[in-house]
C-alpha cells in the first residue's frame, strides 16, 4: 500500500455547507454511513444467517442427544451399567438395593484397591483373557473372601480355581432348564437355571448336563470345596434378558450378594501387562508440545480470520461477448475433414487459385478454365499438360493426395504471382 504519500489535508466543512467548487472534475455529494446502525447490521446479518443458524442448532442438538444416549448406553455384555438385554444392570441394581455395595473396577489396580477391605466378593468376567497369569495370581492371593469367575478361561481356572477343569461348550439341544442336583445351598435355592454357556468339571459340580451322566459330570456351576471360589459357566443367567427366568435370579443374587461388598471387574485391553513392546512415541515428547500445538492451531485460525475478511464485497464485471472471427472457418474445416470431403475441398482450393491466376494474367473472371490454364502456361516454363492436370483434371482421392496436390498448387501460384 502506498501509504500516506498521496493524502492531502482538506479543510473540513459540514456536509451541507459545501460549495461544489469550480474544479474540472465534478464532485458527488458526500455520503456518510450506509443509513443503517450497528444494531440493524447485526440483526440483518443474523436474519440472513437464520437458516444456517437453525441448521447448526438442530445439528448440535442431534449430536448432543446422540452423545448422551451413547454415554448412558454401555455396550459391554454383563456390564453393571448396561441396560441392554446382554447387560447386567438389573442384577447390579437389585444387589445395590439389598444392601450390597457394588463397586465397578475400571482397571486392575482399581480392582486390587477395592479388594483391600474385609468381607468382599470379586466378580471376574474376562472373556478375552486380557489378564496375565501373574495378574490373576495377584488377584487370587487371599485378596477376596469370595471369588466368582464368570465363564473363565484356562489361565483363570489354573490360577484361581484349583481343581476345576473346563469341559467345553454346553450343546444347544437341551431346551429345558438344568436342575441343581448338588449340595451347594446356593444351587439348591435356585433349583433350576437356564442352560447355555460353558461347562466345567470339579468336585462340587452343580446343574450337570443331562447327556453327561458319568461318574464325573460336567455342569455350569462349580464351587471349590471351601466354597470360596465359584465358577459360573453360563454368565447370561445374570443378564437383564434372562435373569427373570427359572431360578436364575436366585442363583445370581445368592452367589454375588453373600458379602457386603461386590467388586465387579471386567478387564479391558488397558489391563494388558505391558512387556517390552513398542513405546508410544508421543510419550517421549516434552510436555509442552500438545499445548503448543493447540495454541498454534488457534493462531492459525486467527490468521485465517485476518486474511479471510475481504475489504468490501466483490465487484462484478459485465463482460461483453466476443467471438473469434475465424472460428466459422475453423468449424467448416473440421466439417470437411470429418465428412472426408476431399473432392469438395479440392474444388474450393482450385476455384480460389484459378480466380487469383485469372486476375494475375488479366483474364476476365468467369472465363473458361482452359483459357486461364493457357495463359498461365505462357507465364511459366511448365508444360501445358502438366498445368492442365494440376489446375483442371486432377481430382485427389485421399488426404495425402490432397495435401500434396494443394502444396503443388500453392507453389505454382507463387511462381506466377511473384515471378
Amino acid at each position: 500500500m502506498g501509504g500516506t504519500g498521496m493524502t492531502a489535508h482538506v479543510p473540513t466543512k459540514p456536509p451541507e455547507a459545501r460549495s461544489t467548487g469550480s474544479e474540472a472534475a465534478p464532485t458527488a455529494a458526500e455520503v456518510v454511513g450506509d443509513g443503517g446502525s450497528f444494531r440493524a447490521t447485526v440483526l440483518g446479518r443474523l436474519g440472513r444467517a437464520r437458516s444456517w443458524i437453525i441448521l447448526g442448532v438442530l445439528l448440535g442438538t442431534a449430536v448432543l442427544l446422540g452423545a448422551l444416549a451413547a454415554g448412558s448406553g454401555e455396550r459391554e455384555p454383563l456390564s453393571p451399567e448396561n441396560p441392554a438385554p446382554e447387560g447386567a444392570r438389573a442384577a447390579a441394581e437389585v444387589l445395590g438395593r439389598s444392601g450390597v455395595e457394588v463397586v465397578r473396577a475400571e482397571s486392575f489396580d482399581d480392582a486390587v484397591g477395592a479388594l483391600q477391605g474385609p468381607d468382599d466378593t470379586l466378580l471376574l468376567h474376562d472373556p478375552n483373557t486380557w489378564l496375565s497369569a501373574e495378574q490373576l495370581a495377584a488377584l487370587g492371593g487371599g485378596l477376596a473372601d469370595r471369588t466368582v469367575l464368570v465363564e473363565p478361561g484356562l489361565p483363570a481356572l489354573t490360577e484361581l480355581a484349583d481343581g476345576v477343569r473346563s469341559a467345553g461348550v454346553v450343546p444347544a439341544e437341551p431346551d429345558g432348564p438344568l436342575e441343581a442336583d448338588c449340595a451347594s445351598p446356593d444351587a439348591r435355592a435356585a433349583a433350576e437355571v437356564s442352560a447355555g454357556g460353558f461347562s466345567y468339571r470339579g468336585q462340587g459340580t452343580c446343574f450337570p448336563l443331562p447327556q453327561d451322566d458319568g461318574a464325573d459330570p460336567a455342569g455350569i456351576f462349580v464351587t471349590t470345596p471351601d466354597e470360596t471360589v465359584a465358577v459360573l459357566g453360563h454368565g447370561a443367567i445374570m443378564s437383564n434378558g434372562l435373569i427373570d427366568e427359572h431360578g436364575n435370579a436366585a442363583l445370581t443374587l445368592r452367589v454375588l450378594g453373600s458379602t457386603p461388598t461386590l467388586v465387579w471387574y471386567q478387564p479391558t485391553a488397558e489391563d494388558l501387562a505391558v512387556t517390552s513392546g513398542p513405546v508410544d512415541p508421543r510419550s517421549l515428547l516434552p510436555g509442552f508440545v500438545n499445548p503448543l500445538m493447540f495454541w498454534l492451531l488457534v493462531t492459525a485460525l486467527i490468521a485465517i480470520l485476518w486474511r479471510g475478511r475481504r475489504l468490501g464485497p466483490l465487484v462484478t464485471e459485465p463482460l461483453p461477448v466476443l467471438v473469434r472471427s475465424s472460428e466459422t472457418a475453423a468449424g467448416r474445416a473440421r466439417l470437411y475433414q470429418d465428412a472426408g470431403a476431399v473432392a469438395h475441398a479440392a474444388e474450393t482450393l482450385r476455384a480460389a487459385t484459378l480466380n487469383r491466376l485469372a486476375a494475375a494474367v488479366r483474364i476476365p473472371p468467369g472465363s473458361a478454365r482452359s483459357s486461364v490454364v493457357e495463359a498461365a502456361a505462357r507465364r511459366t516454363a511448365r508444360e501445358f499438360t502438366d498445368l492442365d492436370r494440376l489446375l483442371n483434371s486432377y481430382i485427389p482421392s485421399s488426404d495425402a493426395q490432397l495435401v500434396q496436390w494443394s502444396q503443388e498448387l500453392e507453389k505454382l501460384e507463387q511462381e506466377i504471382l511473384r515471378p
Binding site: 458527488a28 499445548p291 466476443l322 472471427s325 467448416r332 494443394s406
Partner: protein, 430 residues
C-alpha cells in the same frame, strides 16, 4: 468487524508463555488477553458510520489514458480515525491502488487519490466505498461498506487520429485545382486566378479575360455542405474479434476518422448505431464539438446478440436526411447474414443515396489459406478459401448494385475509408 495482522502477531507471541508454563491456564490467560484487546479496540475505534466520503471524478476519460478518482474522507466522529479505505471499482477500471491506509483526526478531512487506467471502453462503475476503522491498539477493526455509486465514461481511443493531418492535407489539395483535373457533376465554382503555364486551356474564362489584360482561369473547389450519414451495425456480427479488436471497435475508429474528416471538409455528419433499433444517434450540430458528442455517444455501445434488421435502415436514413447523401454502412460481409439482410435492402438505398459498405476483413483467413502442411491444415485452407470466395462474391454483387465496398484489415480500414471519401469528394460524387 475484522482482525488485523497485529492480532495474529500477538497470538504468535503467546507461544512464549505456553512454552514457559505449558497447560490450560497460560492458554486461557493469553486467549483472554486477545479477546479483551480486540473488544477494547472495537469499542474505542472511530465509528465508520461517522466517516463521510465524497468522490471527485472526471466524467470522461479516453481509453489508455489514466485518470484520478479523488476521495475526500471527513471524520465527523469525536475519535481519531485510523484505518483503510477501499473504492469498489469494477476490475476493468484498472485501479492501481484501490486500498489506501490513512488516518484522519477527529473533525478533519483528508483526500486520497486512486489512480485509474481503464482497460475497456464503456461506462465503468464504482458501487461502494468500504471503510475499515481500526482501534487505538490496532488489533481489531470495524468495517462498513457504504453505497457511493459513481460512473466513469471511457471514450474510444481514436487511435486513427494520427492519420488525420495527412488526410486533411489531401482534402485541402482538392481546393483550388483546375476543374479539368477533377471534372465531375457536382464541382462548384470557386474563384478566378491568373493563368499559369500548364493550366488546361479549356478552363480559361474568356469573358473575364476580356475584361482584364491577363488571361484568367476558373478554379473549382469540391462541393460543400453535403451530408454524410454513418451507420454503424451493432448486431451480433459486430462481436467478432479480429486481430484483438472487436469489429465494433474498428467500426468506431473508422467512423470517428471519417466524421472528423468530413466535418473539416465542410460536410454535415450524422451518426447512427443500429441493429434492430437505434442504439446511438449524433446529429450534425453544425460546428464545434462533433468529435466530443460522437465519442460520448459511442462509448457505451456494445455488441447486441441479435440479428440486424437492415430493412429498417432506409427509413432511418430518410429521417436523418431527405436529400441525397453519402451513406456509409459499417457492417460485416459474412455470407449468410448479408444475403438475407443487407443485399435486399441495398437497391432502395442506392436509388436515393451514394452508398459505401465498409467491413473489416480478417487477415487470419489469408494466413490460414497459405498453410498446407498437414491434412487438417489443408482442410482449414480450403475452408478459408471458401470464406474468401463467398466474400468476393458478395463484394461483387454489392459492386454491381452500384455501391462502393471497402473491405480491409482492422488497422487499414479507417484510413481506406477516409481515402474513399476523399476520392468520392474529388470526383464530385457526393
Amino acid at each position: 468487524m475484522s482482525v488485523t495482522g497485529r492480532l495474529v502477531l500477538l497470538a504468535l507471541l503467546g507461544v512464549v508463555p505456553v512454552l514457559l508454563y505449558p497447560g490450560p491456564v497460560s492458554i486461557a490467560l493469553w486467549a483472554a488477553l486477545l479477546v479483551l484487546g480486540s473488544a477494547l479496540d472495537l469499542l474505542l475505534a472511530a465509528s465508520p458510520r461517522a466517516v463521510g466520503v465524497q468522490r471527485q471524478l472526471p466524467e470522461t476519460v479516453r481509453l489508455t489514458e489514466g485518470t484520478i478518482s479523488t476521495l475526500t474522507v471527513r471524520n465527523h466522529s469525536r475519535r481519531s480515525f485510523r484505518g483503510w479505505i477501499r473504492e469498489g471499482w469494477q476490475p476493468s477500471a484498472g485501479a492501481h491502488n484501490p486500498v489506501r491506509h490513512l488516518s484522519v483526526p477527529a473533525g478533519e478531512g483528508r483526500s486520497v487519490s486512486v489512480q485509474l487506467v481503464p482497460r475497456r471502453r464503456g461506462d465503468l462503475r464504482v458501487h461502494h466505498v468500504t471503510i475499515r476503522s481500526a482501534g487505538p491498539l490496532g488489533l481489531a477493526a470495524r468495517q462498513l461498506t457504504i453505497p457511493a455509486p459513481g460512473m466513469l465514461r471511457v471514450l474510444p481511443p481514436f487511435r486513427s487520429k494520427r492519420l488525420l493531418p495527412s488526410k486533411l492535407r489531401r482534402l485541402r489539395e482538392l481546393d483550388g485545382r483546375a476543374a479539368v483535373q477533377i471534372r465531375g457533376a457536382g464541382t462548384e465554382f470557386d474563384s478566378l486566378r491568373d493563368y499559369v503555364r500548364g493550366d488546361d486551356v479549356r478552363s480559361i474564362d474568356w469573358r473575364a479575360s476580356a475584361r482584364r489584360r491577363d488571361t484568367v482561369v476558373r478554379t473549382w473547389r469540391p462541393e460543400r455542405d453535403r451530408r454524410v450519414v454513418i451507420v454503424l451495425d451493432t448486431s451480433r456480427t459486430s462481436a467478432a474479434r479480429i486481430e484483438d479488436e472487436p469489429r465494433l471497435d474498428t467500426g468506431i475508429e473508422a467512423s470517428l476518422l471519417l466524421a472528423v474528416l468530413a466535418q473539416r471538409g465542410g460536410d454535415r455528419v450524422d451518426f447512427l448505431a443500429f441493429d434492430r433499433r437505434q442504439r446511438a444517434r449524433v446529429q450534425s450540430a453544425g460546428k464545434g464539438n462533433l468529435l466530443a458528442s460522437l465519442v460520448t455517444a459511442m462509448a457505451p455501445l456494445d455488441s447486441e446478440l441479435i440479428e440486424a434488421d437492415f430493412s429498417r435502415i432506409p427509413a432511418q436514413v430518410r429521417s436523418i436526411s431527405a436529400h441525397r447523401s453519402l451513406v456509409v454502412l459499417l457492417t460485416a460481409l459474412d455470407s449468410g447474414a448479408v444475403e438475407e439482410g443487407l443485399l435486399p435492402m441495398l437497391p432502395s438505398l442506392i436509388s436515393q443515396h451514394v452508398v459505401v459498405v465498409a467491413s473489416v476483413r480478417d487477415p487470419h483467413l489469408d494466413e490460414l489459406r497459405h498453410r498446407r502442411g498437414t491434412a487438417a491444415e489443408t482442410y482449414r485452407a480450403a475452408a478459408a478459401e471458401r470464406a474468401l470466395l463467398d466474400r468476393a462474391a458478395i463484394k461483387d454483387r454489392i459492386h454491381r448494385l452500384g455501391a462502393e465496398v471497402v473491405d480491409e484489415p482492422p488497422h487499414e480500414l479507417p484510413s481506406r475509408l477516409a481515402d474513399l471519401y476523399i476520392r468520392l469528394k474529388a470526383a464530385g460524387r457526393l
